[in-house]
């Protein structure tokens, strides 16, 4: 369940002086986590740029397709700067990326950054809307499931969420489109948004994509929340609370919830990170002008600058969300604050 926290917090990447470490264990842990994320970001950028070049398949021949004569390939390589060594190009690419310049698209010869600037906001808006609905709903339902554990509401939630996990995003999306957009005609499809669109229209346009994302991510989050609370419920102090006659809702509220906060934060962040990925498919289904659609189109025509830029941005958001989850969990968990 905790994909990141346990293993990643351990390696001491930034050895702090022992005095500092002893006096500020919390700050040390957080600093370590920040350092690790920075390291990870650099490694990921290398993987996305250099690692991809090591794979078979020549960019220049891909770029030219059928018309790849040796001279044309050589020309294109010089044109795109592919004749320079990989290390030089990586440094150029990364310094450009840090300044918000991702170069030119091979397919449209337009600035990648400009496209991304338009689309990143759209994607984040969609993911944010989904998160605002899904997080409280999932945590609430997870608690209900624990409260009615092994009784009808719990079993119902269990079965429905098991089914929901297995639904592919595009199936949920088209089902919603068929019912709400085609049969009832109550929401617009495709979900077009444009610059300067009034907020209400924009919300109406993203209603179905948001609902799809919520449905997809809700089941995961709910099941993980339930598992997190239940593992807390199995601890001896919960048995004590039960034995001393505390009503179960009070026991959950006073003893289980404070201890379950750290795992729940982890669950939420993991699923928010998952939302970032779910956005890709949902955007394609709803023809929504976001980052995901942009990336998929670029992959189809093998437009590498766009693919690498989108890949780096998606990975960075994912890493940052995981980092925030770990830091929140460190702060919320007294055990981690005083490591032995």
């Amino acid at each position: 369940m905790t994909i990141f926290s346990s293993d990643v917090t351990k390696p001491a990447s930034t050895p702090a002086p022992p005095g500092f470490r002893k006096r500020f264990p919390l700050a040390t842990l957080i600093a370590q986590r920040l350092g690790l994320s920075a390291l990870l970001l650099v490694a990921v950028s290398i993987l996305i740029f250099v690692g991809v070049e090591a794979l078979p398949g020549d960019f220049a021949s891909t770029y030219l397709g059928q018309a790849a004569t040796p001279e044309a390939v050589a020309n294109i390589r010089a044109d795109l700067g592919l004749d320079k060594p990989v290390a030089t190009r990586y440094v150029e690419w990364l310094s450009g990326a840090l300044h918000g310049d991702f170069g030119m698209s091979w397919a449209s010869h337009a600035s990648v950054s400009q496209q991304i600037a338009n689309r990143l906001g759209n994607s984040l808006f969609l993911a944010f809307a989904a998160a605002i609905i899904a997080v409280p709903l999932a945590v609430g339902l997870g608690m209900v499931a624990v409260l009615f554990r092994n009784r009808v509401p719990d079993r119902l939630i269990n079965v429905v969420s098991l089914a929901a996990i297995s639904l592919p995003e595009f199936f949920v999306g088209y089902l919603l489109i068929l019912f709400f957009a085609v049969e009832l005609g109550s929401v617009p499809f495709p979900a077009t948004v444009y610059r300067g669109m009034p907020l209400f229209d924009r919300l109406e346009a993203i209603a179905l994509p948001t609902a799809t994302l919520v449905l997809v991510v809700l089941a995961h989050m709910l099941r993980m929340t339930r598992a997190a609370i239940i593992s807390v419920m199995a601890s001896p102090y919960m048995e004590t609370a039960e034995l001393k006659g505390l009503p179960s809702y009070l026991a959950i509220l006073r003893h289980a919830v404070p201890n379950a906060i750290a795992p729940i934060i982890n669950v939420v962040a993991l699923n928010l990170a998952y939302l970032i990925v779910g956005v890709v498919v949902v955007e394609v289904v709803f023809v929504y002008p976001g980052m995901g659609q942009y990336m998929v189109d670029a992959v189809t025509v093998r437009d590498m600058p766009v693919v690498q830029a989108c890949g780096l941005i998606f990975a960075s958001v994912y890493i940052l969300l995981n980092m925030m989850a770990d830091i929140a969990a460190i702060i919320a968990n007294p055990k981690l604050r005083h490591p032995r």
Binding site: L175, V299, G311
Partner: protein
Amino acid sequence: MRARDIPPSAWIGIIGITVTAGAAVFAPYVAPYGEREIVGDIWEPMSSTFLLGTDNLGRDLLSRLIYGARTTLAVALAASVLSFSIGITLSFIAAATRGVVDQGLSRLNDLMMSIPTLIFALVLLAVLPQSVWVLILVMAVLDSTRVFRLGRAIALDISVMEFVEAARLRGERTIWIIFREILPNALSPLLAEFGLRFAFSILFLSTLSFLGLGIQPPTADWGGMVKDNKDGIIFAVSAALIPGAAIATLAVCVNLVVDWLLKRTSSLKGGRDDG
């Protein structure tokens, strides 16, 4: 274990998987028409000649669904078997040898897991040549990171037990310890994980095909069929929903079986049953 010890939910799952697998194996005998045969008009409704109607090119949807089961199951199975072989072997080596090898493999694994699977797959597929084998390999390598993490945790638990210690003192080689001491004791939880990975592979393959980056037409494949027929949705033609429902049903069935396996493992360990 007897047949009646299996709960009804698991039976539903087993039956669903068997039916799909049967359809896949006997596709040429079961399917009423050929995989690529154009037999009627575009998007004909369900009728006695075309039980599920026809698709965007006038091919019989039921026949394509049956042949699609072949592709989808075969590719997903190949990918999960391969990812398991890679993940288990590397994780057991890491757990049995420890030290530098373990550190190297684990950090590499952390790095690969820090990029979302779909995004990583998109980046890789943008570069690599388009073929089924490349697709299987990409899916397997990306998925093996999850197997590695679980396999290493399980193997570490087992490798500190007395019988492994005894084997080491006897002077057995690492390969023996991995395959004769650790593997047999890790099978039960790994079986459940295999089911999970398989369900994930089905969904992942379907997603890639839906995005147009997986199985290429005219080969029938469930995700690709959704993509082919998606434009019909606007005209209230539900042809895209049928393969979508097939994917969902199969994934539900696999998950039902996995759920039962997981419960069985936890009750074997004598842990508190967590429903």
